[in-house]
Symmetry: C2
Subunit: 110 residues, 2 copies
DNA sequence: ATGGATATATCCATTGCGGATATATTAGGG
DNA sequence: CCCTAATATATCCGCAATGGATATATCCAT
């Protein structure tokens, strides 16, 4: 299942903080990457559909305070599989970063 | 230009240690990832061709000691652009790892 | 000399990306 | 109240990347 595509990894990472709706994921990814990664709707909703099929995420039926809600929204959360996959991918990336650091390709420890 | 595909990143990382030939890159990626990432010839040579076009790598004319050489081999090295791109991608990944760690998705510092 | 590993190359089906487009709803200003 | 912009989801489609299959040639050890 690994490596994950950047889109899938960003979506999982955004959901690790708690459930979110599609558009919210898009915004969080853009703000997190300071606008460097702009996920268009095709990528977002296409990825979400594939991730639902793969069992990485689940649609949540819980709605927040109706005053803050929007009836159009569909909320998603990590599945336990999704959390495990995210963990494994983060570990894989961490190993890559360590290797890059060993090759003097990075500034010192964050 | 970022994010890089896993194949391109692995190739750049393998070349950061010094110039290598295609097959050697394949072996290094497989051993580095403990067999988790197996880069087939289609991916390797296809990626190399694209990376030459993009100016990330250059073919090297220098041959090692003829006793250790193999006339079929084609050696590649990082270009200065390739090194800068690799640096930027490593930094990007490092930021992702930091974010993952903040979300308690990783074991402590390596 | 023969076979297996080494080495490069191309083809192609499948998949993922991402811009364009469409449509509906919500919120806010005039 | 109305109109617009932002929000929100969804699909289509061209393009690029992946990776297995295939092909071919060379090197090395037995």
């Amino acid at each position: 299942m690994l490596p994950l595509t950047p889109a899938v990894f960003h979506i999982l990472l955004a959901l690790a903080n708690g459930e979110k709706h599609g558009y919210g994921i898009m915004q969080e990814v853009e703000s997190f990457t300071q606008g460097q990664v702009k996920m268009g709707p095709g990528t977002l909703y296409g990825s979400v559909k594939r991730m639902l099929t793969a069992g990485l995420i689940e649609e949540s039926e819980e709605r927040p305070d109706p005053a803050l809600d929007d009836s159009r929204r569909r909320y998603y959360r990590l599945s336990s599989l999704g959390r495990r996959v995210l963990h494994a991918e983060a570990q894989r990336l961490s190993d890559l970063v360590t290797a890059a650091r060993a090759r003097h390709l990075l500034n010192e420890m964050p």
